[in-house]
Assembly symmetry: D2
Homo-oligomer: 460 residues x 4
């Protein structure tokens, strides 16, 4: 027998994290906990919160789901104060390492500071190498530590100016929150790769990767942090906004709309549901099908599948059931059951599929192995035809801005034509949403998007 990581069962592109911050609530740490809980889909490997009462920082973090890390409610008695930041981490296989769990808290010349980070620096290795040459030491493998090193070396003597100094040295994607005893500082990179939003709960300011973290608190969505914007909230809850970076062409990560964010979230001032649904409609226009029903690969493709159904008039139905009790590891006898990993996660609804021509909509195809197993499952469930539709273009290039992608060799679309992929999946037809079609969707805010994973046009 061997131990199979279930996520192998459905290889998805994975985000590195969700961030949350709150300034001005007597339940700061508890609200952070609940915000992180709403953002759990952005990272399941570790979680942490740092709070402050204006004097010290208080930290608790560990490997595990938010609910596991904070299961002892006495933790919240230690996480004192009215300001807090928190983080959900997804870490790459083999690196499930306590040392990388965020927030990362340091002592430096100005005192103590803690930071959380969503994104990826493209010049981290060079910066790290340069600082190591100067005699710096690194205890984690996270970019956040690189940023904190830069911050500590900044010539300015006000915290927010030091942060600006540091970030000017950085290339890549970042949505960052910093917490010091004096203030909470939020900042988003000038190209705006990753989302970061401002909300309000009574007097308190809240920051979160997605608005679903506001909803769980009954808080109000205000707006996104603009690309390149830096916001300081001080102990008196004065909020100041700065635009310290030279303007850059935006490079919003289109995958936030395709897959990462929850459909009930608002990001980039736009409803994810609205955009994702339009992707499904556009996919339907580009790749219609003669079929009896449209089904989704639950839950991430539900919205696009509904859009596909609305546009084509083919009825939407629930053809696959997903088991939600899945944990992080699953034990199975070796090789005795083909497709065992997919069987653990999904089950076909035979009564829905039997004798039908089925359109199955998925949000994306990465390596194709799961898709192939799903097609087989749907056929075994009784489907007469299986038409695979993908609500995003072919992923051909790895991401350097915070998404965990396999190598090009493992990206099926970088190795095979659409027809070859269809043959590999054993689908009756296969259609990908075109890049042009995707970007033409009018619900999409009219900014520039990063589409490097589709076209290799890396922003920097």
């Amino acid at each position: 027998m061997n131990c199979v990581d279930c996520s192998i069962g459905q290889y998805k592109l994975r985000e590195h994290c969700g961030v949350f911050g709150i300034a001005g609530s007597r339940h700061a740490a508890l609200h952070a906990f609940r915000g992180l809980y709403a953002l759990q889909h952005r990272g399941q490997e570790g979680a942490g919160i740092v709070s402050t009462d204006g004097k010290s920082l208080y930290e608790h973090k560990n490997l595990g789901l938010v609910n596991e890390v904070f299961k002892d409610k006495r933790i919240f008695e230690k996480l004192k104060g009215t300001f807090a930041i928190g983080h959900n981490r997804y870490s790459t296989a083999g690196e499930t390492n306590y040392i990388n769990v965020q927030p990362i808290t340091i002592n430096f010349k100005m005192g103590v500071i803690s930071a959380v980070h969503n994104g990826n620096l493209t010049n981290a290795i060079q910066l790290k190498k340069g600082m190591e040459e100067d005699g710096s030491i690194f205890q984690t493998t996270s970019d956040t530590e690189v940023i904190l090193h830069l911050l500590a070396r900044a010539p300015s003597n006000e915290l927010y100016l030091m942060i600006i100094d540091a970030l000017k040295k950085i290339n890549g994607a970042y949505s960052l929150l910093f917490l010091s005893p004096e203030s909470l500082i939020a900042v988003r990179d000038p190209r705006g790769f990753r989302p970061l939003n401002i909300g309000k709960l009574g007097e308190a300011y809240i920051f979160a990767s997605e608005s679903c973290a506001f909803d769980i608190l009954g808080a109000e969505y205000i707006r996104q942090l603009e690309p390149g914007e830096l916001v300081v909230v001080d102990r008196n809850l004065n909020l100041q906004s700065f635009s310290p970076f030279p303007p850059r062409e935006n490079r919003i990560c289109i995958f936030e709309f395709i897959y990462f964010s929850r459909p009930d979230s608002t990001i980039f001032n736009t409803s994810v549901d609205k955009v994702r649904r339009s992707f499904g409609r556009q996919l339907a226009r580009e790749h219609p099908a003669s079929a009896d029903i449209v089904i989704s690969v639950p839950d991430s493709s539900n919205t696009a599948a509904v859009g596909y159904g609305q546009e084509t008039g083919i009825p939407y139905d629930h053809g696959l059931i997903r088991n939600h009790y899945i944990g992080r590891t699953f034990i199975m006898p070796e090789q005795d059951i083909r497709d065992a990993d997919v069987l653990i996660k999904y089950n076909p609804v035979r009564e829905v599929l039997k004798g039908k021509r089925v359109v199955v909509v998925d949000d994306s195809i990465v390596r194709g192995t799961t898709s192939r197993k799903l097609v087989r499952m749907i056929r075994q469930g009784g489907a007469r035809e299986v038409h695979f539709r993908v609500a995003s273009p072919q992923i051909k290039y790895p991401c350097f801005y915070g998404i965990d992608t396999p190598t090009s060799q493992e990206l099926i679309a970088s190795q095979k034509t659409v027809e070859e992929i269809r043959a590999y999946l054993d689908a009756d037809s296969l259609g990908y949403l075109s890049k042009e079609g995707m970007l033409s969707v009018k619900e999409l805010p009219s900014v520039q998007y990063c589409t490097a994973c589709f076209d290799g046009a890396y922003p920097v």
Copy 2:
């Protein structure tokens, strides 16, 4: 702050368990583990497996989810042999007690035997009292122990005859599996309250509450165990079937179709999806609505909502998102957020609901508190009208056959009229599926059903 059991957030009727058995596989315990995993929705408080190699019984059980109880794969080295039975337990509040986790294994005059049970005896207290008068002792509060006591006192001297002797003394609902070193014995009560199914995986026979436990193993569904049928599988994998009980009018639990079973399962030789969808259709015929969209309370109401949409032509959409990372307890500051418990579990998709006249379909209403919060959530999500539709009749009476129901006082339908409930929910309209309509659904197998929770007509 206080610790709120999330299930309070959505008070649902709850089953007491799922059972699984396998005879004749070298991976018996591992398959039992996976089968229980597929049946996890039937009980989340504890899980256990007993296996046998024909010599001894080997047991592992504990409080927790299946994945938690069996997270150490070395457990399976101890659970030796080719036969195994397993159990998922749901236990009532305040009784989260190790001693009640099943299987229950005993020594008695014939040696050693283990049993798992889904159901509820209506004469357990009398039987227990009687046996106590005779000098028996009871170490658990479970019915299974009562059955084992009866078994041990049976006059016969063959195991399956002793089981028959014991069961003849019992009233109520039971789907039972017994494991001895010599055989696996499955039996279903003569009225057939709870499901129990036979499947096959290669040479091995499998027994499970629902067929989804076969699917996860790639096993084949054969048939249900008939009401009153007892099946013995010996070490040579000979299967013998007996009908030892006088025939009784069936009392299939209709709630298995309404809510308990997974829609992808086959129970009572019938697809749950097919029946549940027809309930939605019938509900639509009885209580149509002038509305723009139909949404479900995910995931248990999805199928009925689709059926409602199909019948009315109103498009089905995803208006509520469910957070699946929820654990068993959730910490929250007291009373600072109204409806916090529902916010933790659901979030409205504003873009879907905004300005719409919404039909929301739920499978049942128990106390009404969650439904009321959901209506408020859907309104706050922007819905112009909220039409609440329930794909089952009013629950007015407690269940004595294995379902955990609150007292009559807490059952809103036993206290209020439909109009009063509508007013309480603050819905624009409210419609329940009628009992007659429910039973008229042609997809429902034409047997007798237990509808006592709706009409108080208790079978015994």
Copy 3:
């Protein structure tokens, strides 16, 4: 590598448990916890406490040390009431089983009762077999369950009379505590094998296997429970004493003085230290040695070694250091270090041993393997001569009264002569305390002792 149970490193005879009871303290469960902690040496595999407030029984028990089982102080909020009983369990290898952890609590015709037991029934198997023939079931392998079965079948209708009825059917050793909502009942078998003592803390009555459990509470030692005495303490703290059994010749377990009890305890109304020290003195008279120092195998032989030194005038010293951080399992590379198991537990003090003629006093020899390793260790520590002295006679026969002994084949003294044992140990001389000498010690209370493990004269 393999996992070695450290106790293998020093194979000692082992007791099955310690018992504690308290009646009439608002800190009943907490005091039980501390009493069990003081009795930890009598059983390290599991621990449990049951308390009562006069209405219900409240139970918490688990595998592990007392400190581990009760590490969460919130447990004590659940263990309500002013009466409590508790138990430390030692379980035989391979049976580390939750189901056998005591107290064992049952429902029976009189309501609910819980029991803890120190001892061993010699007719348990026959009683069990007989009751199984009558249709009884057994869920544990513990004698306590047998006693509770007998109790439940007793014809009387007062609890203490039922207990008497039950115990009249029993042969063997028992010191028992029963807790019902109405009373705490303590009883000791008519031969008095195992100790049981009464103490007082303010108004409260306390019962414990050894008086060290009184000391830790600052409670007062009153007296031992007499052999065959049964004591009832009711909710008004009235204590009644009964002598329900026909008088039997006493069979006090001499091993309680030799090894089991702590030297600071009073048992059988006698100081353990006083007796154990006299054993050392008598051993010195029987087997003097020409030596420079006397050392003990710490800590259980310290007292006897001091006595040996006092009698001979040879100075006592600390020649072996014991590591007390040892846990239950210890990982080591296979076979790379001879005597690794003993090295983990003991280390010689070279400066003490170097060039010396050493008398090492141990309380007993069971299999001889540890003794042999200790001799080698003392030699390697620099001793010129090693004279092994044993403060008890040769153990030749297994115990049937509650002590875990290996089979006769493994008892070195049943297989070899003293000279052969000396040769096996590679000691310069070897002397055992004679049975006659042991019994002649005037500090020993003048009652009859069970010396079956030395002479095979089993009491029954």
Copy 4:
């Protein structure tokens, strides 16, 4: 009720750690585990091991006892390679913090390195402040991180030279082990405050704070690392020794002989037992007593008490029993039992003490609260007179070299005269070993000792 840290029960001076290293064994990590287990008395709050196979470093560390941190033997499959270092940490109250558990592993310009440290830097704060001014960040509060920062900034380009550069900037006490993929480097500060020893096991070199870590492995003690010596062991097991620091007057920590080290250990090339025993003898010469028995406060004072007995001719006996099952926290009802904390740890042996004039020898007095309770306990145990003898001088000054001392206000000897202390303890007489007497002991190696805690003569 409240939770009392048991160590409060006996406030002892506490060391910050034990270190262990091994180069050249296929069981490197397992041997490190066992070495740390033997050194457990030097630190109980956390433990860690880093190993290397010449390519990478592999780390496992956590809060808890060695046996707890490494209880899962699969950990050792990850700790690959033939070189390893390990650490036992004692952390000051309220700082039980994962981040400070050692080894600390960093990336720097030369690659990766890990370090463990026993000692304390007196200029850590200044060094830290200076480096912070230069832009460095600190993630822990440990001195080890300061050393690693200095190392990373060192101008040299060979690892051992960089270490020398770094250490030249440091004042204070250190016994350090560094592990890189290429080599294991051990170094001791020029004044030699803390012990560090070299041993051999077959081909492998071993380093440890005390020789008891060699004994548990069956390894051979070679010699101490000399003050100011740095040793490099490369992958070919070539050992090179360097003396890179200008010679300084030695400042061996005398408390290693008084209390910290195990008596069976050799440190500073000298048997701890021999020295500690002589302290007891010298104490006897300075402060004889008319008494019947000498007892120790077990176990740390055993050796000195034996020495006292040998010199005076008063027989040594076991008058106090220590409970060794004590864990890290202990729950007790508030204030219901005076001296409860001491009762949990010790129990008097009445038979030994009754009517006796007792000399009790303790190794040291810190705050006096425990001593006072012990005197009361011994009196209540029946002693007629209690003569308290302390085998070290009065502790009047805090330590800055790695020992956790309370503030001067809490050190009883800095606040009271000997007579006042005697009165506070309620002893019949009190005698401390004089500083001169202590240093005059001929078994003590003739080097300079740090006696700052007695006389305030801080070395730097």
